[in-house]
């Protein structure tokens, strides 16, 4: 759907981060937040920056927006430096932190931001897209957490930006708000926009991105379609009770990568828990108390970064 890019937009290029690096000084010594990353994003792509806290996602986004100056490397947004792209009104963003100013209604606030851009959306359209048309008259200080986030989303999209950047937009949202948020997001992306969003939820990256860039400790450790990334970090854990389990037999089950036996309890780390579970039930009808859980994403990241020291050398 979004692979068909209009020629006019292709002419000005997409987004290019080249050898981008940033080090912060902290009392414990320098922290290398971003260690020389290269990333090209084509117009119309929806890219997720996936990684645990401290991976460098926010710093990368701040440099992409021109809020933080890189120590080394360059950023180009549709052929312009970030400040140029911001001045041209082609960028909209929802930053990770930030509340709204008070004493305005939601409509007034979005109107205020719209007035700063050369070609904004109609305010009512932006409110509609963000799913907050019914809140238009409410004062910003009286919004719930999820409503605030969706108002911030309206603030980001009212510019009608070519590039939309979202830094962990659903953090601190409940499940329902999260779903409403992504519905709003989909409605906007349908307008052929380039989107970069940071998240530490694998499910969000998988469900809403065309491409996932996996970051850890300031470097890109993987970059590919969501299915590929999911296979790398999306391992699941099957726990069950199985008296007299045979380690070799369990290890041979399809989709199982690791077996752990603790008395009658078995723990299987799986790359494909569905296949593993079917085979397990066929092979051992005595199995009971079955639990399937996602393995910790943080663990998966640590493992990946340790396995790929080459990425650190960048």
């Amino acid at each position: 759907m979004r692979t068909e890019v209009a020629p006019a937009r292709e002419a000005v290029g997409g987004i290019r981060l080249a050898a981008l690096a940033k080090t912060f000084q902290s009392p414990q010594g320098p922290v290398r937040a971003v260690r020389g990353i290269d990333l090209d994003i084509a117009p119309g792509e929806t890219v997720a920056l996936l990684g645990p806290n401290g991976a460098g996602k926010s710093t990368t986004i701040e440099m992409l927006l021109g809020l933080t100056r890189p120590d080394a490397g360059t950023v180009s947004v549709f052929g312009l430096p970030p400040e140029g792209a911001v001045d041209a009104g082609t960028v909209g963003a929802m930053l990770q932190t930030g509340s709204l100013i008070r004493d305005l209604s939601v409509r007034e606030l979005v109107t205020m931001i719209a007035s700063l851009y050369p070609e904004p959306l109609e305010v009512d359209d932006a409110l509609e897209l963000a799913g907050i048309a019914s809140l238009a008259g409410r004062r910003t200080q009286k919004l719930s957490g999820g409503e605030t986030q969706r108002t911030r989303f309206a603030v980001a999209i009212v510019a009608d930006p070519e590039l939309l950047v979202l830094d962990e937009p659903t953090v601190a949202m409940d499940v329902e708000s999260r779903r409403a948020f992504w519905t709003a997001m989909r409605a906007f992306v349908a307008r052929e926009k380039t989107v970069v969003f940071a998240t530490h939820y694998l499910e969000e990256a998988d469900a809403y991105a065309d491409r996932v860039v996996l970051m850890a400790t300031g470097a890109i450790v993987a970059d590919g379609p969501p299915t590929e990334i999911k296979a790398m970090v999306g391992s699941r854990r099957i726990r069950a009770t199985l008296p007299g389990a045979d380690r070799a037999l369990l290890a041979a089950l399809p989709g199982v990568t690791e077996v752990d036996l603790r008395g009658e309890a078995i723990v299987l780390i799986c790359s494909d828990s569905d296949a593993a579970l079917r085979a397990l039930l066929d092979a051992s009808p005595a199995v009971r108390d079955i639990e399937v859980t996602g393995a910790g994403l943080e663990e998966a990241f640590v493992q990946l970064t340790h396995e790929e020291p080459a990425a650190e050398a960048a």
């Binding site: 100056r69 930053l95 932190t97 100013i101 008070r102 700063l116």
Partner: protein, 244 residues
Amino acid sequence: MSSTYLRLELLRMFRNRRFFIFSLGFPIVLYYLIAGPNKGNDDLGGSGISAPVYYMIGLVAFGAMTAVLSAGARISAERSTGWNRQLRITPLTTREYFRTKVLTGYAAACATIVVMYVAGATLGVSLPALDWIEMTGLILVGLVPFAAGAIAMGHLVPVDSIGPAMGGTTAILAFLGGTWFPITGDGVFATVAKLLPSYWLVQASHVGLGGAAWGRTGWLVVAAWTVGMTALAFRAYRRDTNRV
């Protein structure tokens, strides 16, 4: 560029209860408390000015200083909530942002001036039209260093201490500037007072006495504070936005 931005900022200010209390309510109440009982005093403390006129301008100085400096409080608040970062990723220029904040502060100051003039009239203050105009002009010029100072403070002072910082600054400047009693003579106190921008705000009340209310010293002091505060505001802003 964007009159909508200014209009909505003004709307926000007039919706805020604190504005009415501190910029309008306080000066009026204090005015009636101080000038009311001295209504018949035609030469307050040897200043040559009647008490109602003197305190009218004294409290205009106090209220307008508060109003203009409150722009700094708004900047500080927007920095702490991250709203200024949201604005930095819009095409709004820094110049436009500061202009809007300063104009908002000036609008509040004008409201104070009008309200205090009306209060003055109720205590029998009556001046020739030209005096009213000249007085108002001097006050608006005298507020310029405060506008620059507000921007500087907005970037230097964190939001949790900006209230006391602004309140303290206003109180000291009002006291040393002569809001509460006329400063006369050539003592150390008077010498120090004459170096403060607040003194010259209060001094605007002297328009009716013949001759210039400010004189060369007044213009020089106000100009020096304007230059100094503008430089400080510029540096504070640069330091703030260059920070990580």
